[in-house]
Structures are given as structure tokens and as C-alpha cells.
């Protein structure tokens, strides 16, 4: 018998009225980028979905669902790199630029 309910990987996450669909603005932006680019025809939904499934499948803590949009973002980054839209190095550089803007 396990008492550590909050770590029990078989327990469903608490189900009070769930709250908003996104827990942070970046989650909404990552969602919207993936959907609008698919709608614009840059890739099929299945191309995105297969990468999302792969990210979810290799998650280390099966009980944690808060990481969902991190998987989503990882899948999106991989897809955009695979398709040649935004490379990993390019994205790293742009991210660094946001952290330390040049004056």
C-alpha cells in the first residue's frame, strides 16, 4: 500500500474544475504556432502529432502532466528544424539574444 498519493503514478491528477486550458501564456503561444502553421499548410497535423507522441513516450516521470506543453514545444522545435524552417542553432542564438540584449 502506497501512501505517497501525490507521487503515485497511477493516480489521476486532481480533478477540480480544471481551470483554464493554458497555465502560462507561453503554452498558449506554442499551441497557436503549431496549429496556425499546420492550417497554413507548412506541415500536416500527423507530422506534428507523431513528434508529440515521441516526446510524451520518452517522458521520465509518467505521473507528471504539467510537462505537457514542454513536450509540445520540444515536438514543435523538432518539426520546424526537420522541415528547415528554424534550425536549433538559430533558435538558441535568438533565445540568448532575448536573455542578454545587445545595447
Amino acid at each position: 500500500m502506497s501512501k505517497s498519493t501525490d507521487l503515485d503514478p497511477a493516480a489521476l491528477p486532481a480533478k477540480p474544475e480544471d481551470g483554464p486550458p493554458f497555465q502560462a501564456p507561453w503554452q498558449a503561444r506554442a499551441f497557436a504556432v503549431a496549429v496556425t502553421m499546420c492550417q497554413a499548410g507548412y506541415y500536416t497535423w500527423d507530422e506534428f502529432r507523431s513528434r508529440l507522441m515521441a516526446e510524451i513516450a520518452r517522458q521520465s516521470h509518467p505521473g507528471e502532466s504539467t510537462e505537457y506543453y514542454q513536450h509540445w514545444l520540444n515536438a514543435l522545435e523538432k518539426l520546424l528544424a526537420d522541415k528547415g524552417f528554424v534550425g536549433g542553432n538559430e533558435l538558441d542564438a535568438k533565445t540568448r539574444e532575448l536573455v542578454n540584449p545587445r545595447r
Partner: protein, 206 residues
């Protein structure tokens, strides 16, 4: 441009998404206003009220119900609903003998045009695995105890198909209008983890 040094530093994923959006915008691949519009749509406009409207119509109009069960996508389009993750919609009907439950075991596929975005628990690993291995136990956690003779059918979303449960119309609602019925129909009942009852309040669910 002024920088606000009092703000908490942005999280790593927030910075990466911002960088990604900037690059995609510079390349002309996304339009930030289109992103705003899409976020607003999924945060505020698309939700279980759509599905409730469809279910209520099916309860009061047997011909519509027949069309809904034979071609879900075409039938929801009659009421003006369409869009991503609704392209190949299959509606499965609950009866006194059969109870249906939907899941996406490998990720998070969900009938967006009918229900909006899925709740956190739907995307969680425990639900994704236990809906298949122990559906009766999962339903019990949602407060639904089914008689042992009721067959549970679990529908796992595939690359193409999204499912929606058509719940049973509760007894004692014969006098109700379509609009009143729609008020009773909850998101969870259309996922199949609960039933519609006279006490259900669809309005309390986002």
C-alpha cells in the same frame, strides 16, 4: 524601449517560445495577430457548449441523431461546427447496455470543435493507460459506478479519428426544451467519464 527590471525573469520555455515566434514572424511564416486570434478562440470561444448543443439536438430530433451517428463530421457542420481535430468525427452512443469512454493513449487527441481543449487529467499518463486497462476503476474515481452487466467500450483516438460520446438522455427531462437540455450536458459526459443527470450543470465547466 524601456526594460522593466522589476519583472521576474521569464522561464526558459517562455523565452524559447518568444524566440521561436520572433524568428517565424521575421521569416513571414506566422502572423502574430493570427496567433492572438487562435489563442482567443481556444481560450474563450470553443468549448463543451458546442458539444452540448449537438447532443441536445440529437436527443430531440431522431433524424438528426441518425445522421450524427452515421457521419459525425457532416452532422456537426449542419450546426456550424468544423475545424481541426473534427475532420473525422465518430459519435458513439451510450445505451442502458453499453457505456462508451474516449481516450488518446499516445498523446492528447480530442474533438476540439466539440469540446475545446482537453482537461489536464485527460492528457495525463494515468488516465491514458488506465482508461484502457481499468476503465471501470477510472469511472469509479469520477463517481460513476456501472452495473456489472454494462459493457464498457473504450475508443482510442487514432491519427485520423476523433470520438465524441452521445450520452443517454436522463429520465424526467421529457418536458425540457432543447436549450434546457443543453444546459445539463457536461464535458465529462461527452468524454464518457460521467453520465448526464438532472443535477448536472454544464455551466460550471469551463
Amino acid at each position: 524601449m524601456s526594460t522593466n527590471h522589476h519583472n521576474a525573469p521569464e522561464s526558459e520555455p517562455a523565452l524559447r517560445v518568444k524566440a521561436l515566434e520572433l524568428l517565424l514572424t521575421e521569416k513571414g511564416l506566422v502572423d502574430p495577430q493570427a496567433l492572438d486570434l487562435l489563442v482567443d478562440t481556444y481560450e474563450n470561444k470553443v468549448g463543451p457548449k458546442n458539444g452540448a448543443q449537438v447532443v441536445a439536438r440529437a436527443w430531440v430530433d431522431p433524424a438528426y441523431k441518425a445522421r450524427l451517428l452515421s457521419n459525425g463530421t457532416a452532422a456537426i457542420a449542419e450546426l456550424g461546427f468544423s475545424g481541426m481535430q473534427g475532420e473525422d468525427l465518430v459519435v458513439v452512443e451510450n445505451t442502458p447496455e453499453v457505456h462508451n469512454l474516449i481516450v488518446c493513449t499516445l498523446c492528447s487527441c480530442y474533438p476540439w470543435p466539440m469540446l475545446g481543449l482537453p482537461p489536464v487529467w485527460y492528457k495525463s499518463a494515468p488516465y491514458r493507460s488506465r482508461a484502457v486497462s481499468d476503465p471501470r476503476g477510472v469511472l469509479r474515481e469520477f463517481g460513476l459506478e456501472l452495473a456489472p452487466n454494462v459493457e464498457i467500450r473504450v475508443w482510442d483516438s487514432s491519427a485520423e479519428i476523433r470520438y465524441l460520446v452521445l450520452p443517454e438522455r436522463p429520465k424526467g427531462t421529457e418536458h425540457m426544451s432543447e436549450a434546457q437540455l443543453a444546459e445539463l450536458i457536461t464535458r465529462d459526459s461527452m468524454i464518457g467519464v460521467t453520465k448526464v443527470t438532472l443535477d448536472s450543470k454544464a455551466g460550471s465547466q469551463a
